[in-house]
Symmetry: none
Subunit: 201 residues, 4 copies
DNA sequence: AATGAATGAGAGTTCATTCAT
DNA sequence: AATGAATGAACTCTCATTCAT
């Protein structure tokens, strides 16, 4: 007798709940200080049940890192590298990114841990790195377009600009880690655009 | 019987050795996965001896974070906020910072951990934050000078520029965590200066 | 609604399948390393269903030990202690036993476990011991007959001979545990008869 | 500062105590039902200390099996396959073996487990098997000598006799597992000699 | 001061069993 | 009857810390 649709739905909800709590706890206390028992308690289930949904702690961590990435990546990649007006597209992109980074602080602390200890979290790091590859090259494309059109200065390589920009985003996120998610973020949009060397009037 | 000068010297050397290895191990494997035993082995002493020099693991971690900070902070603060030519001073500062950040990658991964989990490492975070307060305001002062002199554009608040710059430095460091310490870093100096909004000819 | 004959038949088949797999797994991996889940998988059913047929793991083990014993005991006791020609009967018996022991290796490893840990498997051990009592005395009777008739030497007590013989059978089985079930076994028939002290011409 | 001789002595005593209790518990309750905690309690030390002496449970079990074997093997091999009077030597050997098997019942139950589950305890089984190889061939040599001298009948291969004999010993040990170690054993010496086919007057 | 044996709290994980579907 | 999600007791093992030598 297979599980009913209702059952499956309930399980999906439970799984999401665990993952959500896992992201919070992993990001706040780190991998080792987040015990399965704490995740279970936070999720309102018995600790044995966590193992029904995730084979082991490693796997839980992996899914916490990777599944959220899958959700976020289309949002981060939501800009057109071949836009008619590259500068305007860049401004819009920065605006979106800053809003997004401001809102997913908890998850990004998790990302920070993975990057900071990439040898230990090799598997997770690879997934992040794969996305990051796509991300930085897509931005670089847009920058190149802006340089060709004369909207951006050309003395810096587009890829270097792109890396600088993404680093800046992560740096801000790290820096404001303890700040509540608020307006401060919007102050940084006009600074971010400077990284790309706009040709000002 | 008081310790001879020679004895004291020997102990200082040993203590430094432990701290040095602790920084490496804590930054590579994180707090929990760095055991006292591993630090002792890396330092060439018995694990029991670590407790002769540091009361407990927490304390060892604390000193690993704080003592190196004490060494680095004068280097990071080595610029004159009242310089005659603020723009030139800024360029020189950026150059120094980038060289420095490129060379202390291991330590900065430790810093990243503390910042990323500031609730957990509250005590260490406070020390870092105290320095960071001084650091960002000193930079902001120099930026304000540059704005007054007309060398820098004024549409962004000096403190915001300062925070953006320091975030950028940390972001680059995180981003290039897996890179050997090399020339890539120097590529970012011309990008960094952009953050301050230079009035270009 | 009572179960149909067909249903009952199906269940019997399923129960036998479980028992068969349980014997294999228990004998190969021991009690603790044989999980209900593994037995279920080997039997092609869900692990929950095992509990439909056997109250708990202990009970499953018990039936695995005892039910096969019930099948085997008439075969082991298939000789006539009052045979006209006791020596010939003994030879025939040994032949049967050796063939049988050669063919039920898996089950006998289970028996070995129960005997080897009789305190732990007290209940199962008692069942085996009850059979063994009958078994050894029946053999002893035949030996006594052979001694009276002068076919066997009399310096050893018939019961001692009987115990020696049954021990020998188990010992061989244990010894050849890793051997495939083959001809080696038949080599031991002429040795076995020696245990009874035949009066050779 | 290295450990003093006294310290080392104390540790050796403690290690032996653990091993002794481990043999008892493993043989009575089996591998899985013998917890490290029980071994520690029986040995009068803290549970953590077991790991000071044995890397893990597997290792403890291994040493329990192997170290005792090392002690026993010279005793079991203490006969001369080239003796002047092979039959007499055989009788003396049987006598020694039977006394020995009677006295090391606990250990032999451990051996039984290893043999009975040789796949699981592969490493231990190999060690036992290596000894057994030497053992059975040395006996076979003595038997061959006895056959040449005409003291033993020749219709059975010496090696087969040897295997039969060693199997018999283990079988008796298994059979009398629940018996206190007493005289019953001596009854089996005259039966054992029969296995070798003595040419009786 | 230096060593490392001793300790036990606490972690991850397994699995028999229950029970709702 | 059949399924498999839920539970938590019990296990192995790690490691910071203490302390006798």
């Amino acid at each position: 007798m297979p599980l009913s649709g209702n059952q499956i739905e309930k399980m999906k909800v439970k799984r999401d709940k665990i993952l959500e709590q896992a992201i919070i706890l992993f990001s706040e206390h780190g991998y080792n200080d987040t015990t399965i028992s704490k995740v279970a308690k936070a999720s309102g289930i018995s600790f044995g049940s966590v193992f029904t949904y995730f084979e082991n702690k490693e796997e839980l961590f992996h899914h916490a890192v990777v599944e959220r990435l899958k959700e976020l990546s289309p949002l981060l990649l939501d800009f057109d590298p071949n836009a008619e007006d590259p500068y305007k597209e860049l401004e819009a992109m920065i605006d979106k990114h800053i809003r997004l980074f401001a809102s997913v602080g908890t998850y990004l602390r998790l990302v920070t841990q993975v990057i900071g200890q990439h040898q230990r979290f090799e598997r997770q790091f690879k997934e992040l790195d794969r996305f990051y590859y796509t991300f930085r090259y897509k931005i670089a494309d847009l920058v190149a377009k802006g340089q060709s059109s004369g909207q951006l200065r050309s003395e810096v390589d587009p890829l270097t600009s792109s890396i600088a920009y993404t680093s800046f985003l992560m740096g801000i996120r790290l820096n404001l880690a303890d700040q509540p998610e608020h307006d401060i973020w919007s102050d940084f949009a006009p600074v971010a655009i400077r990284l790309f060397g706009p040709n000002l009037p």
